[in-house]
Symmetry: C2
Subunit: 270 residues, 2 copies
């Protein structure tokens, strides 16, 4: 494991392959009182991404240094970007790869209102392409998410749900999707596309959720629906709109919400 180049000014040069090709990975981590939440899952996903892309994984000390020290707020978001580093023209990587590791902490306030009152979501027109070589990892090639997020500007719509080119539900633009069927909470496998979130990973490890397949047509008929990630926590979906703005389904806000309670326990935001 090579020590990564730490960029003091938190910028990357013209020839950085993260900029040139999206050749790298990122993590978005909730810090609670200065300590990273689900850190083990974030570093595990980063390691998986490095293995998949063939990028040397920074040592644990370098990763820990991104959040250690400095003033702390109750909640912050730590964003890490790890790129393959500088390279010449062309897709072939240089003989000696020296990754660039960058990080930034910003104050953050989770939306308690969305935790308590739920959210409205919409379906996206954009269909995610199926690329198993890139599925699950949090790489820097995120134009599909950018294009999907451009589909709406109405602030009352909290998220957009994405299906793949086969019409199977994958994720929301920046969250994972969970639904309930026969009392069980389910989430897509993400072996063809999508980002496998760290909260999802923790919930899987705890046996709280199972993997399943769901077509976009079935989505409106699930017993309950949630979107969630490790920074925002769990939002119950109370309204589902089609891409054309028509209401497809509404669910009554169900309290208590054992799924949200468990997930928020894992995040320490109860």
């Amino acid at each position: 494991m090579l020590p990564p180049t730490l960029s003091d000014d938190q910028s990357v040069p013209f020839d950085d392959r993260g900029l040139a090709y999206g050749d790298g990975l990122f993590e978005t981590v909730l810090l609670r009182a200065g300590k990273p939440v689900l850190w083990r899952y974030h570093t595990a996903r980063l390691a998986k991404g490095c293995h998949r892309l063939g990028i040397p994984l920074p040592c644990q000390q370098a990763l820990d240094a991104t959040w250690q020290g400095g003033p702390t707020a109750e909640f912050e978001v730590l964003k890490l970007i790890l790129t393959r580093g500088s390279g010449g023209r062309g897709y072939a990587q240089p003989d000696q790869v020296t990754p660039h590791l960058l990080s930034r902490r910003t104050p953050f306030q989770p939306s308690v209102e969305r935790w308590q009152k739920g959210v409205a979501v919409r379906l996206c027109d954009l269909q995610l392409a199926r690329q198993p070589r890139l599925a699950g990892i949090k790489h820097l090639n995120r134009l599909e998410n950018v294009l999907a997020r451009q589909e709406w500007s109405d602030a009352t719509i909290a998220e957009g749900v994405l299906a793949d080119s086969e019409g199977l539900v994958v994720e929301a633009t920046s969250m994972n999707v969970f639904w309930q069927r026969a009392g069980e909470v389910l989430t897509p496998q993400l072996d063809q596309c999508g980002v496998a979130g760290t909260l999802r990973a923790a919930l899987l490890e705890h046996g709280a959720i199972a993997l399943a397949s769901l077509s976009l047509h079935q989505l409106a008929n699930v017993e309950r629906l949630w979107v969630a990630n490790s920074v925002q926590g769990v939002w119950q979906v109370t309204k589902l709109f089609a891409a054309d703005g028509s209401l497809l389904q509404s669910w009554p806000l169900s309290q208590p919400d054992p799924f949200q309670r468990l997930a928020h326990q894992l995040l320490g935001v109860t």
Copy 2:
């Protein structure tokens, strides 16, 4: 059209969306005696990419400024990177988008030997995902090309040919693919994936080539095969290897090569 922010030090900050999400476009342009070759096609592709991604196109003056002035060599490569600029956390773009335009010129020497003697290419294992929303444009989400280029390190292999998930030939890792059937030169349509090269665009405009579909299985049986782009010119393929290294086909070097001659006239490298 907004004036882009020109970065004097040719770096981008942490929050640049090109770095964060590959949210941008690039062009790689041959300069001959300081003048861009096929410049009209490069700016047209950039404009198409900006339209597709919703990024404001820099004014022509700003684009021209990337190659005007300075010392000139016989051949150089100009690389442009245009990103959506800085943005906050999350995929939603900021209310006010100010793109970052970066550029760099580097000396370049085309391989006359490959023009004259042809090249060996191989098939890649990686299959390109089909995403019509991103097909044809030269965006910054190029992890598929990076992974494909990792498949070989043998310097005698000049390029790797990529098919999509349906098994249809799309492109080479950094070049377009052309083949001859019944005397006609053909190239894939690139409406599902792949980068539509500027040399390819010029050849299409001149009526020198036509669009067609070719399965990977048919590739070894074409009359002639070429890989080409606007920087390297046209390389006749004389040997085609499978991903496992076995020889699939060899073609005798055919001279004269009217296709190469026309393409090189368009590039001014005759």
